[in-house]
């Protein structure tokens, strides 16, 4: 209760646009950590998100993404370290942080028995959106999300993609500074995912939002200005997606020959390349593979049965950094805090 007194002193229509000074990061995390019993879900994570940036947390299930986002959104207290959002401390100024951010959770949080517009009105009242702008804002966001025509339908009748769009609209109603999206396209089909992204990027442009999101989809992470790759509670890399991919040393080439080991030896003596062998297939990285490969084939002593070139993906980056792929669900089995016991209601407390 005492936490709330600071919030009461603030005026109703407070929009919390004032906090960060220009150029300063809007989110900072300093040695942030969170334990669940003896499980270390997030260990010693530090980063800063610039104003207007789309910042992504990429990692497999159970890597600590939701735990981090929950700490930034004041839903979980950090076990150690500090974080500030929109200039406010996430522990000391919970109410101010909450007012400055929009949130879209992994699991739906809509009241399905109310209509779409009733859900939005509830949110507007709860956040004290002034009467003068309330209806205009609701209409603007619903139109943008292409939901205006269905505003009076029960949310029950909405598809998964529509619900997610409605939640994004709701998260933005109170003019937040920062929008947090926890796995915004989880469980949606590729077309819908694509559409959601179009809306999100459109919104960023129109509203000057900073967006912080978590995902385990590589293609989704490509849309971010910068991504932090997180694994087992630690950030293993943080940069622009193209820089991360370039760090692998260029394109990925696979060659299938009569003798894999011999081929690798040849590559290493002639070009100084290193790579890996699996059966008779050699994989290695090289810049400008499109030019390198014809040159190689002309003079290569071994018979090449097949050759392939592709641009590296973020999954390759992840694999190179952690030694395992983002796609296999290894992590989910050794992260007990994400194993839900009993009813879905429990989730709220756990993560």
């Amino acid at each position: 209760m005492t936490k709330e007194t600071t919030d009461e002193q603030r005026s109703d229509s407070m929009r919390a646009k004032s906090a960060p000074s220009p150029g300063a990061p809007v989110i900072t995390a300093t040695r942030l950590a969170r334990n669940f019993g003896r499980t270390k879900a997030v260990k010693d994570v530090s980063f800063a998100v610039e104003d207007g940036e789309v910042f992504g947390f990429l990692g497999p299930n159970g890597a600590g993404k939701t735990t981090t986002i929950s700490m930034l959104c004041t839903l979980l207290k950090p076990s150690a370290g500090r974080a500030s959002v929109a200039g406010y401390d996430v522990v000391g100024s919970r109410a101010e942080v909450r007012r400055s951010i929009g949130l879209v959770f992994q699991d739906p949080t809509l009241d399905e028995y109310l209509t779409a517009i009733q859900n939005l009105r509830f949110h507007a009242y709860a956040y004290g959106v002034p009467k003068s702008t309330r209806d205009k804002r609701i209409r603007e966001l619903m139109t943008l999300m292409e939901l205006w025509d269905r505003r009076d339908s029960s949310v029950r009748e909405y598809s998964g993609g529509m619900k997610r769009r409605l939640e994004i609209a709701r998260g933005l109603l109170h003019h937040p500074h920062i929008l947090f999206l926890d796995e915004p396209t989880l469980g949606l089909d590729p077309q819908t995912r694509h559409r959601i992204w179009r809306y999100v990027l459109d919104l960023r442009r129109r509203e000057g939002l900073t967006i912080f999101l978590t995902t385990h989809y590589m293609d989704e992470a490509e849309n971010c200005d910068r991504i932090a790759i997180i694994d087992r509670g630690e950030i293993v890399a943080l940069d622009r997606p193209d820089v991360l991919k370039d760090s692998l040393g260029g394109d990925l080439v696979t060659l299938r020959t009569e003798n894999g080991a011999a081929a690798l030896k040849e590559l290493s003596t002639r070009y100084g390349l290193t790579g890996s062998v699996e059966d008779d297939t050699v994989s290695f990285s090289v810049p400008h593979a499109d030019e390198f490969l014809p040159e190689l084939l002309r003079t290569f002593p071994l018979r090449v049965l097949a050759a392939g070139v592709r641009r590296p993906t973020l999954d390759d980056v992840f694999l190179a950094l952690t030694g395992h792929s983002i796609r296999n669900d290894r992590a989910s089995s050794n992260e007990p805090h994400r194993r839900y016991v009993g009813t879905p209601g429990l989730r709220m407390q756990i993560h």
Binding site: A95, T109, Y125, A126, P344
Partner: protein
Amino acid sequence: MSSTFRGIWVIAYRELLRFARERTRIASSLLMPIIFMVVFSEGLKRQIGAFTAGVDFVKFMYPGIVAMSVSINAIFSGLSVVWDREIGFLKEVLVSPLNRSGVVLGKALGAAVIALFQSLVMLALAPFFGVPVTLEIVIKLIPIVFVLSLSLAGFGLLIGSRMRSQQSFQLLVQMVVFPLTFLAGVFFPVNNVPRWMEIVSKLNPLTYGVDAIRRIFLAGEVSRLPSGSGHPIIGVTVFGHTTTTLEDVALVGVLGAALLIGAIFSFNRQV
């Protein structure tokens, strides 16, 4: 304070909106007391009539049924917390800047308004059961029903804030509610039962709610009966003192305030 007040009205508004949109809930909350009335008044009239000296059994039981259905509905309002948690909506409420006291009081207020609506419908039906209703009864009843339902909503919310599934909430509440209502003098006067039952009944806060409502209905009837130090069918006699309507309501109110404060504390511990 503004955050608390906004919390109260936003949450209450949504409770009412939900109630208005759920026709089955409206229907069941009205049907239950009617079924009780028909079954008990017709079925027990002859047998129990003897207990309620000087007063028609139906007239005796009707106020009890009003109190009982108001109480049950108010307690079950706590289920909405569990339900909100299950569908995820509670998270939307808990991360909003609304303060927790406002959320709890808003839920209780919503429940109280619904209980009030329900009791007014029951009053409208009273003449069909041969129970006369005057404007005076209606006016006096409103604050009593309001206090009673706020208090019991406090109880429901306290339990609801701790429960993770609707099944466990329902099981627990039913286990508490049945003995509570049966030993609250709804069907028979508490001053006229075996000693152990009398003690349990007089410890039961609902007894005082039932009595307060019954006094309003039977005010006319009782005054016509020979007066003495209290009356066997109204008033709860504790240590030789028979409570007045005001004392009944105050007792329920104080207990309710304690339960609501408990529910607020329990809510504050979440997230």
